[in-house]
Amino acid sequence: MKDLTRKKIDSATIITGAIVIAVLLASFIAEQFMPATSMLFTVLKKSATYALVAVSMNLLNGFTGIFSLGQAGFMLLGAYTYGIFTIPVAERMNVYQYYNGGLVQFVVPWYVAMLLAGLVAAFFAFLIGLPVLRLKSDYLAIASLGFAEIIRALFQWDKLGPITNGSNMLRLFPSFNDFNIRNASGEVVVYLDTLVPLLITTLCVGIIVLLINSTFGRALKAIRDDEIAAEAMGIRLASHKRLAFCVSSFFAGVGGAMLAMYQATVQANGFTTIMTYEILLIVVIGGIGSVTGSCLSAFLFVAASEWWLRFLDQKQMLGNFEVPLLRNGFRRVVFSIIIMVVVLFFRRGIMGTKELPDLIRGFKNRRRKEAASK
């Protein structure tokens, strides 16, 4: 009989770990030998960022059943926190040119800034969670959406300029490219600009998975399944919802910091509702309640929208035949159709609520059954 007194680390879990490590290794090796300008790396960096935010959104929407649309707002908080605390002091005069160099005149290491980014986002989540989490479903979504819009407007406010640089962009802070190791003459010796974001996402997603599988994760799922029953089992709704909201926002903040590093510039105007919808789309396509699904669909989403469908934006010749319809913007049409088709055929997303270890276990069981029938 299976021993359930300890949650077993079975072979499926180990295989999953091996797959993750293999992906990291492969991207590291590819990075060293493929041209640095390859779209693959751009896509990997951006999808690492989006995957983290999508998983954090899934923690809230998929695992706790709280429908929040404040993701872009928390990413903005994270991105700005990161930027504000990492722009080199020497460059501040250039960046905050209208604000006399700005208020903050010190820097912290990038990883500290990233942690701060998460904490600031979590702190704001705590504050707005007090009123907002009392609301249910659609109302909560609208209120959180409103929060994100207010934050976006607030950060462009002139009076906050000495901190946020007003409506001007933050720049010159360390980006992903600064992870590359260079020799004295400035040539890159070891490329790390793709591996590091992937590692950050792996670490953060790993922590979220650990949380989901802990006793607190079970309590969150209980709340999602049936609030009344969860409360009757002694689970305090308010504190657990707040926990999920703050943790989710923490990682959205870290994701925002990653986006800042990816873009190398930050401007409040970029954190629109559309960004939240993109993340929501990733979560839905991947499967609401599946971390694996969110990661997978983040990559597919970014790759399809930025890379694989690029050819649709230009004239293409098949021999002497010019393919009709192809022109600038056509990519978006095809992309939208693909999304509709995916949603039609995968009603519950690519993965449903399954995770990678579940798939491996299912595959093994099928093999075992086949072997038994022979």
């Binding site: 359930l4 922590i207 309590a219 209980a222 399944d225 049936d226 009344i228 002694g234 709704l237």
Partner: protein, 264 residues
Amino acid sequence: MSENVLHIDHLTMRFGGVVAVNDLSMDINRGEIVALIGPNGAGKTTAFNMVTGVYQPTEGKISLEGRDITGMRPDEITKLGVARTFQNIRLFSSMTVFDNVLTAHHLRRTSNFLTATFRLNLAEEKKMRQESEALLKEVGLWELKDEMATSLPYGKQRLLEIARALATQPRLLLLDEPAAGMNPQETEELGAFIKEIKDKFHLTVFLIEHHMNLVMDISDRIYVIDFGKQISEGTPAEVQDDPAVIAAYLGVDEEEESNGEVGA
């Protein structure tokens, strides 16, 4: 000997103009099985919901083991030792049988979310799992531990709900129509089961039930309410012979009633 567990003092619940429970007073002592019966819509579940904190009573007071629990949240009341099942089964539908019971151990955690996330609570987690295993073996659901809770047959789902309630380690167990939808044989087994767990887990049981055989068989005392008002109270034998109870359940013959009035 007869230590008071639950004391309900002049409880009234109004929903707008509707009086669901009207001036209800009850006492339940340790080790008793007490039933609350009454026709449909009499206010039984409303009374349960007030005891478990789902509703705040309009008037009146509820004390658990001498402590005032009126107005407390459901989770606080559960932590004080009151567990319940639901009339329309409310299992955690996305979870297995095992996880349903495991989740009900969450309230006794000493870990916080950080220690739990980073697995610094292994001893606690192991204890939760061991206790869940023991409990599922106790109620005979261990073989089904990996099944999805909602894929179980109806009777087993009711059983699982009781097991999940027991996992919170209550002293007072509230069962809301535990035999609903069961056939006579299952009902009989349920009666034996309730008595068994009552002794094994040192429980006091407070139940709502429509199966009169079950109620008469296992209850020490019965309260009867109709239109939110208590109309009778006593041992099964006493209640069965009470004209007021018979009237509430069977209705009063109009002719007889008018005759009575003439006679009076």
